[in-house]
Symmetry: C2
């Protein structure tokens, strides 16, 4: 059974972008959130997460900040479903890697179909929080980067009620600690 | 030389209180942030931090939410300095454990004098963020509790610029992971 998870590089104060994220500068300014990717000691963790992904769900904000991923997706091979109340843009309408759904439930359902035996990865803080609120997320991996960014887009947004987690694994590594949480159901 | 640090129980989404913190309910509602205190495996970490503290700096919000600590302080023995632009209240004016200072700089300077050879602990997210911005904090310990609270008072507030940290130690324990960061100077 496919799992739904997120795995996002996040500052200690909870931001997944620097200040001023915008189209063409999706990660904002002064980004240091991905400095750890290059270290081979982190590659094991990162590659094993990438390997799990059969489809990605992303929000409209991330999609537009990322300039529609140029008709592709954030994952090297997996298709992407954009959860958005607004109509799908006509650009890249013929892309075989970009799908649209108008609710988070429909987006995750479609992503699970597309993922087959693999898992669904959620990108974007608003989309992740919406999906957690809907009870649709199984795991959250935080690549906690040792910096306070002080502003940007948050990993977690307001929730209507508290959600219990279980720490499955914590792996301190070079320039990052990988915190792997399971959501209690 | 005295260090200035904070060590606060914090949810994975960055809150140090539940929803609706207010006088008499300083930790808000639905608090689960301190469930781990009772476990002896956490006592070693917690007690060693308490032992370091020679004085506490707190903000006016925390002070009032905590009903002026009844003329005492949050620490069993250490005096407390309240950083507040507003005039000191007359209640408990004769307390030998409560002092007031009108800037964060003055509060930390006074706390260092009071602490002697011991360290200064900062309580309260606004006060901590102000002190970090002023370059006055050496270490931040986050007792990260496996819950998303979804609302409350935040550990970190907006910063004018990014601050680099170094992860000194990460100790996964029962119902909490202790993340010990040093601030790069």
């Amino acid at each position: 059974m496919s799992k739904v998870f997120s795995a996002l590089a996040t500052s200690v104060d909870g931001y997944i972008t620097g200040r001023g994220p915008r189209p063409g500068h999706g990660l904002g300014d002064g980004g240091v959130l991905f400095d750890w990717y290059g270290d081979p000691r982190n590659a094991v963790v990162y590659d094993s997460l990438v390997e799990r992904v059969g489809a990605v769900v992303t929000g409209r904000t991330t999609y537009e900040d990322s300039e529609m991923f140029g008709g592709e997706g954030p994952h090297p091979t997996a298709p992407m479903v954009v959860a958005s109340h607004r109509p799908a843009p006509t650009e890249y309408a013929d892309s075989e890697r970009q799908f649209f759904a108008d609710t988070i439930e429909a987006a995750i359902e479609l992503a699970k179909e597309l993922a087959g035996d693999k898992d669904v990865a959620i990108q974007g803080g608003i989309t992740l929080t919406t999906a957690i609120t809907a009870g649709l997320v199984d795991e959250v991996v935080i690549h906690q980067v040792p910096v306070l960014l002080g502003g940007g887009r948050r990993l977690f947004n307001d929730l209507p009620e508290q959600v219990r987690l279980v720490l499955v694994e914590a792996s301190p590594a070079a320039g990052v600690i990988h915190l792997h949480y399971r959501i209690e159901k």
